[in-house]
């Protein structure tokens, strides 16, 4: 610190300043020498390269992974499509260009302007798409008239191809263009504006597996934008293959069986929980979304009163009606309220707390035991038994079967349904529970709601001695080298405990429903195998009084007030393999409308099994 004159005036030290200055000058001269080397000596070569060297790194789209059914039948694939794009910096007279293009492609110039604007965010060297999935003719015309269309180029892009035209639209989902918000998110770092990503269901949840790895092309183009040569290619890697648990044959049969009706159906393997068929009707064609859906078409779908966009199998909450009776029966047996032999006399109505509740059979079933009660779906038997059991015990038994909560369908959108209890009523309505409500809950009406998926799981649990299974939709995921990336295993959510005699009693009842003369489900009967099942007819509105019913009988009940038709089944009864749940919206009779659908599915299933 302070003045140290002696040290700094040492010639040795003074020399250092000179030395450093000289060294710095030397280094700078080396830099200048190198600059001379590049800018003078190699000028021609580098200059030429820069003029010719409008290199572009073009992204090569990767085909999205295909989706197969369990046997390897292709359900969703990609096909090539032509896209007309524009290199913005090569456009000098935009209005003239669009005019020419509009004439050739028969697209409004306004539409072209909109597409141009939409591509503002792209980097300058990336072409902006003006028309997607154009026909071969259109593409040829554009190529022919290349001279009049400076800056326009044709690109070949893979586009999603849904081979089943919407049969599995709710399971598989659809694609859409990535939004700005999504681009900002971390997990979408690899994506660019204009990319199509999965928006719903499988396409969305398994986006990472399905998305391939984009390749790159380093190309050289001259001043006019013509491709001179390709310098390097890193080929794209297609997305992985997904094999669903679905069986396309069964899915097709389900489609045919439904026809024009609305509703939902699901078929499940009783031991593994694998979903063999899943249909929600009406459906829509995901191909509409594949190249960017128009807002008019979207609005139509969204406002359609039959809700084609909703996956009714997992999100449709219906009163299960009489299909619920199997749970009531089991709970009663376990609790000792009823035995197989308990006889209750059904006279057609039942009185509780001053209200009258009727059996669907006006004059009653007479003396009825458990088997008869299930077979002929006697309401009064269940009113009685349910009332004695009490709503809380009933609720608990139902929840064991997976009702009232989501069962774990692996894709989003599942609803939980409702299983009421005293606590539930207090929490949600701040009111006490009334005995009459137990009565109607015992026949699966009132507050009780379930999704077809839950009903299938419930039926499977009955068939497999109490294993509540998690539904599986993916069998395995493979890459193109044959490596298995993911393989599903059956997952038992819960093991329900009932006496084997109880299981047998209820199962016998369900066998009777289909196979014995007075069974309500004889529409589902098959010759070669024993189908066991239960019908259900769930009221959409409260039961009307006698007078109102007479009035309505005169004219037809309007569609939206007609009850839903339900049917659950499993087969073969002796050694169950498949469980089915069907809901036909406003089908009126569980046996007549839903039964045949279930029958056709089971029939086909058995046919496919025999080689």
């Amino acid at each position: 610190m302070g003045l140290d004159v002696k040290w700094i005036e040492l010639p040795a030290v003074q020399r250092r300043f000179l030395f450093y200055s000289a060294a710095a000058t030397l280094v700078f001269m080396l830099l200048l020498l190198r600059l001379w080397y590049l800018q003078v000596i190699h000028y021609e070569e580098l200059q030429e390269r820069s003029v010719r060297n409008r290199t572009r790194v073009l992204s090569l789209e990767a085909p999205r992974g295909p989706i197969y059914d369990r046997h390897g039948t292709l359900l969703v694939d990609n096909r090539p499509s032509f896209q007309i794009s524009v290199m913005r910096q090569e456009v000098e007279n935009r209005s003239l260009l669009f005019q020419n293009l509009s004439d050739l492609l028969e697209i409004e110039t306004q539409e072209l302007e909109n597409r141009w604007k939409a591509g503002q965010g792209f980097p300058i060297y990336r072409p902006v798409p003006l028309a997607t999935d154009v026909s071969w003719d259109a593409m040829e015309k554009v190529q022919e008239h290349g001279v009049d269309l400076p800056g326009i180029l044709t690109e070949v892009r893979p586009i999603r191809d849904y081979l089943d035209q919407g049969s599995t639209a709710h399971l598989i989902g659809y694609l859409g263009e990535i939004t700005e918000d999504e681009l900002a998110r971390k997990n979408f770092a690899q994506y660019r504006a204009g990319d199509f990503i999965g928006k719903t269901a499988l396409e969305r949840n398994y986006e990472d597996y399905l998305r391939g790895h984009k390749g790159k092309r380093l190309v050289e183009v001259d001043v006019q934008g013509k491709l001179l040569r390709q310098l390097q290619v890193e080929s794209s890697r297609p997305g992985n293959k997904i094999f669903l648990t679905l069986d396309r044959e069964l899915q097709q049969v389900t489609d045919e069986a439904f026809g024009d009706q609305s509703g939902a159906a699901v078929a499940m393997n009783v031991h593994t929980g694998e979903i063999l068929a899943i249909a929600s009707r009406p459906t829509f064609n995901p191909a509409l979304f594949a190249k960017g859906i128009g807002s008019k078409e979207w609005r139509e779908l969204a406002h359609d009163k039959r809700h084609p966009l909703q996956n009714k199998v997992i999100a449709g909450q219906y009163p299960p009606g009489s299909t619920f009776k199997m749970v009531v029966a089991l709970a009663a047996l376990r609790d000792g309220i009823a035995t197989q032999k308990r006889i209750i006399d059904c006279k057609g109505d039942f009185e509780v707390g001053g209200s009258r509740y009727r059996c669907w059979k006006k004059d009653g079933h007479g003396p009825t035991d458990l088997k008869k009660a299930l077979r002929e779906s006697c309401d009064v038997w269940f009113y009685q038994v349910g009332l004695e059991l009490g709503i809380d015990k009933l609720s608990q038994a139902a929840k064991e079967f997976g009702l009232g909560a989501i069962v774990g369908y692996p894709l989003p959108g599942e609803r939980a349904g409702v299983i009421p209890s005293q606590e539930w009523k207090r929490k949600n309505y701040n009111k006490p529970w009334y005995a009459g409500e137990t009565v109607i809950a015992s026949i699966g009406q009132g507050f009780v709601l379930a999704t077809p998926m839950q009903l299938a799981v419930m039926t499977a649990a009955l068939a497999n001695n109490g294993k509540v299974l998690k539904p599986q939709v993916i069998q395995k995921i493979e890459d193109w080298d044959g490596n298995v990336l993911l393989e599903s295993e059956p997952e038992v959510v819960r093991q329900i405990d009932y006496d084997p005699k109880a299981w047998k009693a209820v199962r016998d009842g369900l066998i009777a429903v289909v196979n014995e003369p007075r069974g309500t489900g004889h529409a589902a009967r098959l010759d070669h195998i024993t189908v066991a099942g239960k019908t259900g007819t769930s009221q959409v509105v409260r039961r009307k009084s006698d007078e109102e019913e007479e009035e309505e009988k005169a004219g037809e009940v309007p569609y939206r007030f007609r009850p839903h038709a339900l049917f659950v089944a499993y087969a073969p009864a002796e050694n169950p393999e498949i469980a089915v749940a069907v809901v036909v919206e406003h089908g009126q009779s569980g046996g007549r409308a839903a039964g045949p659908v279930a029958k056709k599915i089971i029939e086909r299933y058995m046919e496919l099994k025999t080689p």
Partner: protein, 364 residues
Amino acid sequence: MFDRRLVVNFDWVLLLTVLFLAGVGIVNLYSATASWHSATPIYMKQVLWLAGGVMIALTICLFDYRHLEHFAVHSYIVSAGLLVFVLTLGKTTMGATRWIDLGFFNLQPSEVIKIAIILLFSRIFSQTASFLGYGFLELWKPFLWLLFPVVLILKQPDLGTATMVVFIALTMLLFAGLKRGTMVLLCFIGLLTAVAGWFGLHDYQRARIRTFLNPEADPLGSGYHIIQSKIAVGSGGFWGTGFLHGTQSQLSFLPERHTDFAFSVFAEEWGFSGCFVLLFVYLFLIVWGLYVARRAADRFGMFLAIGVTAMIFWHIVVNLGMVIGLLPVVGVPLPLFSYGGTSMVTTMIGVGLLMNVSMRRFMF
């Protein structure tokens, strides 16, 4: 505080040189980002950064730089602390954790440590340098002072900045004087470190060096920057393609052209003749910095000037070397030229210190 002598001896040459370089830089940025669209153009932001930087530099001139000698150790501890802080709580982008997010701007501790090291080493050397030169064993203290932050910076990882800090320190050390034997020993150790360092480098850093040696091997990936930069520079020829006419820049083939490769844009548009003038002015700045050091009133001021000059010198050399293909790409900005508030502020702090030393050369 406002002694008349300060105003008389104010270093206009230094200020004008710096403003000239920064001005050319801003004009260059205008061209480099001409095809960009944003609310506030890049070059405008740089003008603001420059204005802010000049304010900072002038503020630094207001007090006697000797006060800094007291605070050298404090500033070092704070900076080192910030380096530790950034490793644990810093923002991570693209695999590197270099910044602390303070809301309205990002603080980069590795920049702060550059200044802190200069202050600290100026203090150490000015107090203990002798005409005999340092022996090897006497260097253990400065070595440790240096090692700690360098290791932390390497952990971020930021090889470029770590290298800068080491070079600045070595330059100052060399000036302070070493015994001959020590110098040989240090060279030897340097070689060993380079070899050992090769094995310690991250894969991507090794890849960078390989790419530097043969960029054509991977023209799509890592070689892209180097190849494009050479083409841009070379196609400038002797007279340049003209302002706003550099095809490599205007058509976006040259990446990072507002930051690391800003000089490539300049070289393409102004050619060899333009580069000659620019390099001449940069060299002038360096030599002037050494001149300030020589005229300094005390040793502490002298070492401050040496340190700051070294900092500017090495940034210029490494950035230019990278741009023209003499050095691997390590992400070091060109002072006053590359866009970036951090670089501008650090440089202007240095310039402020330099001006401070310069205008007080007759004070005592």
